[in-house]
Each structure stands twice: as structure tokens, then as C-alpha cells.
């Protein structure tokens, strides 16, 4: 046995020595993430952002969702990169990420990427982590064409240095709402009008219970969907913002989710897996994105979607710029280009989302005259857009009444695991 002690000890010593030799500088990356200390270094809002766009650096690196930045190689009709590259001389390099987790990790680990198309559940985390910098809107002439309702949205426009002025930490790109997708095989010709079909056990129009045939999103942000449902069914809880939940409200939401666990066959993580599940009869009702609804292969009207009466959560993606972006000029060029109406329309058609620039809905061949309607542009008012839950209930006053995102994740993981 002593031989083994020697072996293990040697390995341990070697590991520690080697580890110790690494620099001690890991603190620069993972700071904050919900903190509201006004003294915390947050994307340095006090130093003036770039005041003019200089010479292009020749390239720009973007972290994006798959399908957000197309250069014609998947389908030659969908290309909004080639023209940008020839106009500005900035070569576009895309790193696709599958989840918000990945995006945050990629942006935080080093400063290799200039831009990221962050969803609302990640954007505040990037802001408060000091990973992204405020944008000088004077350099983005097309910013006025952005949907007014998005221009100062709270998931990327915050007053970080307490001087009373809001800084914009990005440029809106696309948005969409979560919808209730359902199978007409199970619902016959009844249109479900409430999220209860995924939260409460019941018999569906085809005569079978919904147990095991329901899905839910496997991201912790889904707790907000439960909270949204409770806003309608248990108003006495006093929930006003499904992302700012006090301890009691949070526990109520978790209880609802535990109840839902009995009904869920599987939590969906990837769009294509969910589509497969629906097509193969594994699931008949679930929260979903228009992306799946549009692309699901069925026989015409087999899978439909609706925004139930309680409303829905939604996501809005914002292109944000790294604090130490290596190619800031090209990055600004791209930010301006990203608001180009044709790009916005083409992308909306490709992705199944809604353009951040409403003018893009008109006259786009690929999108068609009804594209924006189909993708849900009329649902804006009913949507509660994703944002990272903060301990201070988004009040910026250092209070800790609300449950921070860290706990959302740990608790949701537990619920999915059956606890």
C-alpha cells in the first residue's frame, strides 16, 4: 500500500506545483453577475466610448446563434455577409454557440471576440460582469429605425455608474416570443387557449391524459414562465415581473414546476430534437419557438401554435461588443450593417424571428408580406422578455429581496432531477 501512497503523493505534488506556476490572475474574468455595487467596474461607462469609426481592422469576430449570420454557404439565397465584406473590407468570422451559457463563457474567457448576439437571459450577466462595453449610438445612424419599444429595453440599457443616464450596451438584432406549440392529432380542432395544458394534468381532446406528453424548456429561465402562469392563476401572490421574484413567489413557482414534472416526458434543449419528438408522437404540447413551428415537417396543419391568454415569455437578442474588442471599428461597421432592412427581413425569414427594424417587414421577398405576422410581430405587448434575474429586483438599490439567477439554476436543476 505504501507504494500507492507514494504514487498518489507524487501525482498530487506535481499537480500542485504545476498549478501554482500558472499566473494568479483568474480574477479578471469572472466578476459580478448580478451585483449592484455602483463602484464595481462595469464596462467602464465613465471613459467615453469610441467617438468615431476609424479604419477597418480587416476582420471582425462574432459569437452568434446558428443561423444568425449567413454567408450563402448553407443556402445561396440567404447571404448577408458577402456584401458587408466587400463594402467594408472587414472579413466576418462567426463562432456559433448553442446556448447562452456557451456565449457567456466564450465572451468571458479572453478577448478574442468582438461581438455577441446575446439573448436577454445572458445580456445583463455580460453587462454586470464587465465583459461588454456601452455603445456610442451616435456612430449607429440607423439606430432610429429600431423598433421604439426595443430601443431602450431594460435587458441591455442600464444606468451602471449611477450618474442618472442610461447606457446602451448593445444594438437589438431580432426578437421572438415563446409560443405554445401543439399537435392537432391530440387537440383535434380545439385551439388551446391557456398554458394549463402544460401545467395541469388534464384529458386532451383525443381522450388521453397529457401526462408524459408535455415538454418544457430546460433552461432555468423557464421559471419565469411558471411565474407568468401564476400571475393569472394566483394573483394573490402579487407577482408583477416574472423575472423579479421574492422568495415566496419563487417557491410558489417551483411548486408549480414540481407539479409539472409529473407531466413532462422530456425537457427540450435543442430545437431539432423537439421537432423530432413532435413529429414522432413523443410530445403533443410544449412551449416552443416559431422556429420549430415553421420548420417542423408535418402534413401542413399538423402542428400549430398560439400565444395563450396568460401571455408568454420571449427573447430579444442584442448584438453586444466586448470591452476589449480587438477590432472595434469593424465591429461598429457590423453593428450599423446589422440594422439593414434587407438583412433584417432575410434573417427573420430564415430564423423564424421578428426583425428589430419594423421597416424590414415590407417588401422582403424571402419573408413575404405576412412573414412578420406569422413570426409573431403582433404579440409584442403580451410578451415578457427574458432578462437575467437580479437579487435587487432590478431596482439598482443594493437590496436583496429577489432571488438571483444563480439560485434559479440550482433549483431548476433540482426540480428536473425530481426533487
Amino acid at each position: 500500500m505504501s507504494r500507492w501512497i507514494r504514487v498518489v503523493a507524487l501525482v498530487g505534488v506535481l499537480a500542485l506545483v504545476a498549478a501554482g506556476c500558472g499566473s494568479d490572475d483568474t480574477s479578471s474574468e469572472t466578476d459580478g453577475g448580478g451585483g449592484t455595487e455602483t463602484a464595481a467596474p462595469v464596462g467602464d461607462p465613465d471613459s467615453p466610448p469610441i467617438t468615431e469609426i476609424g479604419e477597418g481592422e480587416g476582420e471582425v469576430n462574432i459569437v452568434a446563434w446558428a443561423g444568425y449570420i449567413e454567408d450563402g454557404s448553407t443556402d445561396e439565397n440567404y447571404d448577408w455577409v458577402t456584401q458587408f465584406e466587400s463594402d467594408t473590407g472587414c472579413q466576418v468570422n462567426v463562432k456559433t454557440a448553442g446556448t447562452s451559457d456557451e456565449m457567456v463563457a466564450l465572451m468571458q474567457e479572453g478577448s478574442e471576440y468582438d461581438l455577441v448576439t446575446a439573448s436577454g437571459d445572458a445580456s445583463l450577466r455580460l453587462v454586470y460582469g464587465g465583459t461588454v462595453q456601452p455603445i456610442n449610438l451616435d456612430l449607429i445612424p440607423s439606430y432610429d429605425t429600431v423598433d421604439e419599444r426595443l430601443q431602450d429595453a431594460e435587458w441591455f440599457t442600464v444606468d451602471t455608474n449611477g450618474n442618472g443616464e442610461m447606457e446602451h450596451y448593445g444594438v437589438p438584432y431580432q426578437w421572438g416570443s415563446n409560443v405554445l406549440m401543439y399537435s392537432t392529432d391530440a387537440f383535434k380542432d380545439v385551439t388551446p387557449d391557456s398554458w394549463s395544458v402544460v401545467f395541469e394534468e388534464q384529458k386532451l381532446p383525443d381522450g388521453e391524459s397529457n401526462t408524459g406528453r408535455v415538454q418544457a424548456y430546460d433552461g432555468a429561465i423557464y421559471i419565469a414562465d411558471a411565474a407568468l402562469y401564476l400571475m393569472a392563476t394566483q394573483p394573490e401572490l402579487g407577482i408583477e415581473d416574472p423575472y423579479a421574484l421574492t422568495r415566496d413567489q419563487f417557491d410558489a413557482a417551483l411548486n408549480l414546476l414540481r407539479q409539472q414534472r409529473e407531466l413532462v416526458g422530456r425537457y427540450w434543449h435543442d430545437a431539432f430534437v423537439q421537432m423530432d419528438d413532435f413529429v414522432n408522437g413523443e410530445a403533443v404540447a410544449s412551449s416552443s419557438w416559431p422556429f420549430q413551428v415553421n420548420f417542423i415537417e408535418g402534413t401542413g396543419e399538423r402542428f400549430l401554435s398560439v400565444v395563450p391568454k396568460e401571455g408568454a415569455t420571449g427573447w430579444a437578442d442584442t448584438t453586444m461588443m466586448h470591452t476589449d474588442a480587438p477590432h472595434p471599428n469593424c465591429a461598429y461597421e457590423w453593428l450599423e450593417w446589422s440594422l439593414n432592412p434587407k438583412l433584417q427581413g432575410d434573417l427573420a425569414s430564415w430564423f423564424g424571428s421578428v426583425p428589430a427594424v419594423p421597416a424590414a417587414c415590407e417588401g422582403n421577398e424571402l419573408l413575404g408580406p405576412d412573414g412578420c405576422q406569422i413570426n409573431g410581430i403582433d404579440n409584442f405587448e403580451q410578451i415578457k422578455f427574458w432578462k437575467t434575474p437580479q437579487a435587487d429586483c432590478f431596482k439598482g438599490d443594493g437590496s436583496t429581496d429577489c432571488v438571483p439567477y444563480l439560485e434559479w439554476v440550482t433549483n431548476y436543476v433540482a426540480v428536473i432531477g425530481g426533487r
Binding site: V11, L14, A66, K95, N280
Partner: protein, 277 residues
């Protein structure tokens, strides 16, 4: 070893397991030709060969393919060199820390890939090494070294030390012994290790996810294709293509190095420990 006949039960069981291995491959082939493009149902509504054209027309696929080949070749080459040297050193000598070393060497394979991936990623970040083909290569080389090492050590163990003694008894210098006695034996082991290392590097996705920058190796390309389910059969075609294309060199390597009595060949020369993804 082959003068007995296996019982019928055993033969059925063995081939049933083999069938189990190949049924999903059959499914892959089937759906490479389906007419559906986003979700697959069974049975497929129709068959078509158009996806082959679509797949081969994708320039990004070819780039990913080339990158995978490049990284695989480089990682394998370095691994063969370092792993071979390491095995030669460890095999014959005893020194302090030898056991510990043998232990450490197995770690890149025994520990889950996500550990290697995250660990390397944070090291690259700390030292501000930009993610590139080089960093992918470093990740792959790490576990490739282990595979080559294991193969060579296994072969060296089976080689009788008497051979070396006999050779020098007959007057050969150190170099001659190496060139005419040791090397021919090692050669097949290195080849076997190299082939396995290449196979694993080619299909590796977990470590690569963490150590790559903009670059896409073939598995990463496939993964990102699956995220936007248009032309889904394309990934099936590519997977099929990968097998077909690697079948020939592997078969050739096997035939070239076959021992007529044992029927082994490079693949079997101690090709025991592997690792994947």
C-alpha cells in the same frame, strides 16, 4: 486457435452483437436517402440521392473535413514520436516515479473529456494563447500520446528481451540492434497506435468544443448542422462518407502488416486501449 468449432449458441450470440453494432449504421444509410429534410419519420416517405450532391457541394463541409484531416495527422505524428519515445524509455528502465508516470499517462483517457477540455481552455486563456488550429492540435495530441504509448508498451512487453541480447551477442551495435531487431517490431505497434489515435481525433468533439476558436472540425461542423435542421440528411451523407473514406487506408494498413500465422496485422498489435469523443 481455430481447430475447435464454436458452439452454435456462441456463434449466434457473437453475430447478434455484431448486428447490434451495425443496425444503427444501416439506419444512417437509410436516412441519407430519405426525401424528408428536417424531421425524420419511419418509414421514410421516399428515397432520393440528391443529398449526396448537396453535401458535396458544401464548401464549408470540405473545409471542416480538411481541418479534421490536418489536425488528426499532426496530432498523430507528434503523438507517435512522443508516445513512442516515452514507451521505449519506460519499458526498459526502472526509475523513481515510474509508476507515477505510468499512472499519469493514462489520465487523459481515463478522465472524462470535459475535464480535459475545460482545463486546457482555462490554461489557454490564462496565458492568452489565441484559440486556433494549434490549440485544437494540442488538445488532440494529449490523448493521442496515450494511445500510442499504450500500444507500443503492449508490443514491447510481448517482445522477448532475449532478442536484444541475442542481437548484441552476435556483435550488433546499439544502433544496429535498434534498426534490425527492435524497429520492425515497434513499427507495427506505432502504426496501430497511430491509426487508432487518428480515428479518435477525427471523431472527437468534446475536447474540441472547448479548444477551438472559429475553426470547425468535421464533428463540430456536423454538430452545428444539426442545430439548424435544414437538409438533415446531409449529415448522414457526411457520416457515411467518413466511413467509406477511412475504410480503405485502414484495410490497406491491416493487410500490409498482417502476420500470416496469427492473422493479426497492425490493428491487432496491441490495439487495446482506445478513447473516443
Amino acid at each position: 486457435m481455430s481447430d475447435e468449432r464454436a458452439g452454435l449458441g456462441l456463434r449466434i450470440a457473437a453475430f447478434a452483437v455484431m448486428g447490434f453494432l451495425y443496425i444503427p449504421l444501416g439506419v444512417i444509410v437509410l436516412y441519407a436517402f430519405t426525401t424528408q429534410s428536417t424531421s425524420f419519420t419511419f418509414p421514410p416517405p421516399g428515397l432520393t440521392t440528391k443529398w449526396i450532391g448537396v453535401a458535396f457541394g458544401r464548401s464549408d463541409m470540405w473545409e471542416a473535413f480538411r481541418l479534421s484531416l490536418l489536425v488528426g495527422a499532426a496530432a498523430t505524428a507528434v503523438a507517435v514520436l512522443l508516445g513512442g519515445l516515452l514507451a521505449a524509455a519506460v519499458y526498459r528502465s526502472t526509475f523513481f516515479g515510474r509508476n507515477a508516470l505510468a499512472f499519469i499517462v493514462v489520465l487523459p483517457i481515463a478522465l472524462p473529456g470535459i475535464v480535459t477540455g475545460i482545463a486546457l481552455q482555462s490554461t489557454f486563456n490564462q496565458f492568452e494563447i489565441p484559440f486556433s488550429t494549434w490549440t485544437i492540435g494540442i488538445g488532440h495530441t494529449t490523448f493521442c500520446i496515450v494511445i500510442v504509448y499504450n500500444n507500443v508498451v503492449a508490443r514491447l512487453r510481448r517482445m522477448s528481451p532475449n532478442l536484444v541480447e541475442a542481437s548484441s551477442d552476435m556483435g550488433a551495435s546499439g544502433w544496429q540492434t535498434f534498426r534490425w531487431v527492435i524497429w520492425p517490431n515497434l513499427g507495427t505497434a506505432l502504426l496501430a497506435g497511430g491509426i487508432l489515435a487518428f480515428a479518435l481525433s477525427f471523431d472527437e468533439i468534446i475536447v474540441t468544443t472547448f479548444t477551438s476558436g472559429q475553426q470547425k472540425t468535421l464533428p463540430i461542423w456536423i454538430f452545428s448542422e444539426l442545430f439548424r435542421p435544414r437538409n438533415r440528411p446531409v449529415t448522414n451523407v457526411v457520416a457515411l462518407f467518413a466511413i467509406v473514406i477511412t475504410f480503405v487506408p485502414v484495410l490497406v494498413a491491416q493487410l500490409l502488416t498482417r502476420d500470416p500465422t496469427e492473422g493479426g496485422g497492425a490493428i491487432m498489435a496491441g490495439a487495446t486501449t482506445e478513447r473516443s469523443s
